[in-house]
Subunit: 334 residues, 2 copies
């Protein structure tokens, strides 16, 4: 190859490096554009910089950079009800023609009529009946398809857009920022693991194998002459409160160095994270923005934040004041 051609190629390489360094510098200058320049953003950036700085005392090797995120209320909206609950009620309506008895039988009657007061009065047994009727009795493949079909069309009652658009833009940026710094990002949610897995990769960039959640028991059996996993009407694991550290240990087998939640259901996950050695980041999203999203904490039926907020204040965990710390809530329209 002639020297001239080589020089031309060399120029392309230099140009490429220049473009890259400009882009990277820009990304570095503001990895979290939807976060205001307040304390939480500073704490996040300071943490990431110190654990990724090679040779520094707080450096954490790549394989130990585990970050766990709650889902409901931390990554997406959980009001006026958990999305999975809306899914269950829609499924009751869809299945009602095959169950004429539901017209008179509780809690199905209340579910069909949208009578939340009666539903709530039924307590846990009512919820379990609704869950059994809507979340079991099909194979895992069938359930994944039901979830995918529903989530592609269902809309949030207030925001009038798909639930998967009711995700927090600042948290999407945080997930991407952590991954760019070679963190492995996990979802650790009280929600159903198989309710989340069909869409978490597309929406959050979190693949199925990095989703931990609650589950029903499944049974390996022949269905229509083919082996399948049948979903049973029996709770297998509840990935909430004390269950979160248990689930993290069982599924991941490593302790996170950063954990993100928004409710008392996340308290033990943050405690478990905090109890490890070395640098740690614990963060709670506090819903303080009734205008743009919702404002709730100690009295809420969904995503109650009470004891965890007290502990965060005592221990200096980062608390995001949604109204003041986030410049936008949802992603821009596509």
């Amino acid at each position: 190859m002639a020297a001239r051609e080589s020089t031309r190629k060399h120029r392309y390489i230099v140009f490429g490096l220049l473009v890259c360094s400009l882009v990277c510098a820009h990304a570095q200058s503001d990895p979290l554009p939807s976060w205001n320049d307040t304390a939480p953003k500073k704490a996040i950036v300071a943490f990431v910089e110190k654990v990724t700085k090679d040779g520094a005392p707080d450096f954490v090797p790549v394989d130990q950079r585990i970050a766990t995120f709650d889902n409901d209320g931390t990554l997406w909206v959980e009001q006026p009800v958990y999305t999975q609950f809306a899914f269950a009620l829609d499924r009751i309506k869809a299945l009602a023609p095959q169950h004429p008895e539901w017209k008179t039988e509780q809690p199905f009657k209340a579910a069909l009529e949208g009578d939340f007061k009666t539903l709530a009065s039924g307590g846990e047994p009512a919820i379990l009946k609704i869950l059994a009727a809507t979340h079991s009795g099909m194979t895992t493949d069938q359930f994944a398809k039901i979830v995918s079909d529903w989530i592609a069309t269902a809309q949030h009652p207030r925001f009038k857009q798909p639930y998967t658009d009711c995700v927090y833009q600042p948290m999407l940026e945080l997930l991407a920022y952590l991954r760019a710094n070679r963190f492995k990002t996990y979802i650790v949610s009280g929600g159903g693991i198989e309710f989340m897995r069909p869409w978490t990769e597309k929406i959050y960039g979190v693949p199925p194998e990095q989703v931990v959640g609650s589950s029903v028991k499944t049974k390996f059996e022949l269905v229509d002459g083919k082996v399948a996993l049948m979903r049973l009407p029996e709770v297998n694991f509840v990935d909430d409160k004390e269950g979160k550290p248990v689930g993290i240990n069982e599924f991941i087998g490593r302790r996170p160095i950063a954990a993100f939640g928004n409710s008392d259901g996340d308290q033990q996950m943050l405690e478990w994270t905090a109890a490890g050695e070395g640098p740690r980041l614990m963060l709670l999203v506090h819903h303080t923005d009734a205008a743009r999203e919702y404002a709730y904490d100690r009295q809420s039926s969904f995503g109650k934040l009470d004891k965890a907020l007290d502990e965060a204040n005592v221990r200096g965990w980062v608390v995001v004041d949604m109204k003041n710390d986030w410049s936008r809530i949802f992603p821009p329209d596509k």
Copy 2:
């Protein structure tokens, strides 16, 4: 930069590419040097080539390249007894001074005396008592340390070397070959998940989060003023036979496209893998080499291979004849 300097740099790059291509070509020419040029090796290479060839009808995207491996008898020796069983017996001996009653109480007396006949006659209840005494009553961190300490020093009774050296060199090459082709390699074992996780990354290159196994229940609680996960004397999950597809679905949330086992305990994992759409590879290691390792199948107490061998023959799954298909069994001495 002067054109001459640029040309010199260009030469270095060309030289680097040349070295790399030679090394890569060599690696490509024999990715599995400890496998003889017999049918199993050909089947493995043909499978990997067709699923990784971009644009080909059988191409599988990287994120779906999931391969699951049984451990005992597939990746390391499981005779004369499962390694974890040897660990449990050693733990009984180590704990005996704190339990003078074990001198007369079964099954501990038999365990201390190495009286396998009496132990075996106790059946599952005896095994569960041994497991409870050795695998629970400590935190997960404490257990990980006990396992690490033991595995660093314990030796296989016949091969007089650490158990972690009694791993199959051809399978190490297979793991590496799959990973080089961007497969994610998982262990899916009937063995204890927390018995494996402390050493699988170092020995097999499989990180803790890619190990699925049997487990005891754990409880999140305060231990010495610090939150911890306490291991309870209660079975949580048995990752064997029908449990393997259940565990794969729960932990990974994707169906493998390749599965590797050696016993009837792996049959359902291979069936579940085979039942997916698209190209699939199912392989069983048949222990046929009494001279270099062990020869056993239909009558063995550990790693019985009977029904799965029949199914493999009927369905054309790959069966490795250890004696004829592997040129060496264990890694060379370091």
